[in-house]
Symmetry: C2
């Protein structure tokens, strides 16, 4: 056993682990099978469990200090202490009054945001966002940082990722993506829209397609589930119980298929983590960015490849009559339309990261008090105009579109692009990938990912893991090369 | 709020309540949707939660003593303290070594019992049962009793129910049931078997029938679920989230229908408990017997009545082709076959209680050391022979048929008959019942049950609740009258 020097910590962590286990199951059930009347009780119980979690973390905080700086620890033991300290950090460093205030504000803010979005009324949401930014700034101060307060917030989601890193990534991406987008549009091979987007499907048929896709992706029947929920998500109950969901909107079938492939990517990461790490804080992805790299690798690099379309074409035509009049190449175009659009979650591979550059710049400047909340709508709309050539008609399709800020998540958005960046790095490093997809060698792909990335769980920080896997950290050049190769045949 | 004098207790109980909530959900999920690989991890997490529960109870034990004997408490407050003391009792009075030993023995015994049952090998199970009986006797001593050690065990499942009560109930039932059974068989109106028992059904059709039955029983969509599991059960997550399961065996459709009606009876009890009791130990049934009275009232008294068959006949014939060639009266006979049989769980209304009398007598004598475990097979088989005229060919269809003893549940069986007894009392007291069933006035029946019994939860002990509802406690005469009326037209 890899944790013999910190056995006491491992034993004590068992309670945290089981509380998290129960919270995960309660959360999954809330989105899938819970009778609606139980919603507020469920919220209360999860709240009580979060309190219990905090108590346990504070107990562990006293214990973990004994092991700080201890020598001759294994990588797993060092990782355990590092991640545990990260989990505790928020409770220990941020005064309880601030946490409570943030909880209070965000609980209200989510409700207000929903109304404001519906009414396209930014003024309504503005005071809440101002308060949230103010609190997040305070939190950054309490958490501590070396150069930039935004670093402290970025670190909550992507350990060790800083504004220096972010500027490098986003400053490289922006002009290059602009160039790629322009050329894709000039070439005209990938259409902006496709007639299949308007075609309705029967949910029962679609469920069969998704079950076949999950089978094709070799998702293990005995430790995996696919269910239905309003918003697709992945949740780990344990390493032997990872669940995803999708939704059926009734038309434009690529939406449900690619949500299944995306979430299966997240699930695959969880399922490939070394089972010996179960019950420790290491049984999770290395970071949000690394997690997203797996989902986007499967969704985009694998799932939207020409080879994958060849693989799934027979099962699409088997269950979906209306697909039969399109050939494989046409389906390839359908799943790879490129169109500058207003809404992040609907964006394609080429335009997606523009949406994130915008949010990164706004968050960075907000936290550094270089811009004011009141200015956001205009900054937002100008950026969209300048880089994507589309301008929101109102704030609900602009600055109000995402829930994240209302929940107090500032620093989260960049991890979406980091996911794309690392997926690109994976594509570059994996020379046999196209061959493996062509041959339907999904197990081979999983083995590759397991050995390079997944099995380590959170033993190493994301930067260290990337260095071990690729010899470099977040390098956007690979993503750009991937996009040029796929979309420009360069 | 009805608990203002014990606010501190109510607040502290919140943790117990939420731990139980999570355990319930994890248990439900284990039987329904959990991927099989997670079984042992799930067991471990539930074990950790049970430990947490115990810790919380011990904390509450210190607190509750402050309120003991306090005056001017409301019925709810007195009930809270009474039930909390009952929940704590086991942990406080029984030495931890005995609890641990019992857990150890029963964990093994369940496995051994399963093998012994399969092999029909009582000798294999015998040493485990001997150990369990010995431990249960010790537990009875630690729990304390006035007259009979078996009283202490009965009280765990049916508060205040004693051997004096039990002897009165079972000594009245035995000769009378014998008389009724003989006459039913002489009359010959209710057949022993029915051709429909051999007819296979399509599970999809059957699911539709069950959904319609649940609708007909007015189970509330927003706080109730019906799912599938290997063994049907009811579980309360909260008063706004009560779930039942059924199973589909592929033939003899009454089995799945009546499991749905039975479990819906349990669920209805939980759903009718006053919502203001949520979060307290009073938000549960008054006892196992009372709970079983509700399930059996719905299953047998309502569900197997001629009037109910009239009500469901249209939906049976709508979905099940093969029912169309039988008329209502024939379906009534099909769901009310009477046949002395070896297996308790397959028994009908007339013969069911014989099985319980036998188990009650055996448990009572075992705990009082009047018989030995080694003698059980013979005692068992002789009783079956004498009272039901059937003799087990082997112990797997005799003394080894039930899981209960292997789990350490001694004192539980009698509550099944108490359920029938109280269902009979309910029938007697409810003069408009047949009219309400005929009119499909299910809400009316629920209102009657709510006001008489259900809304009180566990505020009153079962005996006090019965006195309030019926002016008497466990009176078997009503059950006998019900059976004579139904089966003998007397």
């Amino acid at each position: 056993m890899a944790f013999e020097n910190i056995k006491e910590l491992v034993d004590e962590y068992r309670k945290v682990w089981s509380i998290n286990y129960a919270i995960s199951l309660m959360s999954w059930d809330r989105e899938t099978y819970m009778p609606p009347s139980d919603a507020s009780i469920r919220g209360e119980v999860i709240g009580i469990f979060s309190e219990m979690l905090k108590e346990e973390y504070l107990k562990l905080n006293n214990l973990v200090s004994k092991y700080q700086g201890k020598e001759n620890l294994s990588d797993e033991e060092k990782g355990f202490i590092r991640v545990l300290n990260r989990e505790i950090k928020f409770y220990v460093k941020v005064p309880i009054e601030i946490i409570k205030e943030l909880n209070k504000v965000t609980t209200e803010a989510v409700v207000v945001w929903r109304e404001a979005k519906k009414e396209s009324n930014f003024a309504k949401f503005k005071p809440y966002l101002e308060k949230i930014v103010e609190l997040e700034r305070k939190i950054a101060d309490h958490l501590g940082y070396e150069k930039n307060p935004y670093d402290a917030l970025l670190d909550l989601y992507e350990e060790g990722f800083t504004v220096d890193d972010g500027d490098k990534v986003f400053n490289t991406l922006l002009p290059n993506l602009k160039d790629i987008l322009q050329k894709v549009r000039e070439k005209g091979y990938f259409p902006e829209t496709h007639p299949l987007e308007e075609v309705s499907y029967d949910t029962k048929d679609m469920e069969k397609v998704n079950m076949e896709i999950v089978k094709l992706l070799k998702m293990p029947e005995d430790s995996f589930r696919l269910d239905v929920s309003p918003h697709p998500f992945t949740i780990r109950i344990s390493g032997n119980d990872v669940r995803i969901t999708t939704r059926y909107e009734g038309k434009d079938f690529k939406r449900t298929i690619y949500s299944v492939i995306h979430e299966s990517g997240h699930a695959t990461y969880e399922l490939l983590i070394d089972k010996n790490l179960e019950g420790t804080p290491l049984a999770q992805g290395a970071s949000m960015g690394l997690h997203e790299s797996q989902s986007r690798f499967w969704e985009n690099v694998v799932g939207r490849s020409r080879e994958f379309i060849h693989l799934i074409y027979p099962l699409l035509t088997k269950y979906l009559d209306f697909v039969r009049k399109y050939d494989e190449e046409e389906i390839y175009k359908y799943v790879n339309t490129v169109k500058p659009s207003l809404i992040r979650v609907d964006a394609d591979e080429v335009t997606y990261n523009f949406h994130i550059v915008l949010r990164y710049e706004i968050e960075k400047k907000l936290i550094n008090e270089e811009i004011k909340v009141a200015e956001l709508p205009e900054i937002w709309n100008d950026f969209m105009d300048k880089y994507l050539g589309v301008r929101p008609k109102n704030d609900s399709e602009g600055v109000l579109q995402d829930i994240h800020w209302s929940q107090g998540s500032i620093g989260y958005f960049p991890t979406y692009t980091l996911g794309n960046v690392v997926a690109g790095m994976t594509y570059s490093a994996y020379s046999k990938l196209k061959e493996d997809i062509s041959n339907g060698n999904i197990e081979g792909i999983k083995e590759w990912l397991r050995e390079r990335i997944c099995k380590y769980g959170a033993i190493y920080s994301p930067k260290e893991l990337l260095m071990r896997a690729f010899g470099k950290t977040y390098d956007p050049e690979d993503l750009l090369r991937y996009l040029r190769e796929k979309y420009l045949k360069e």
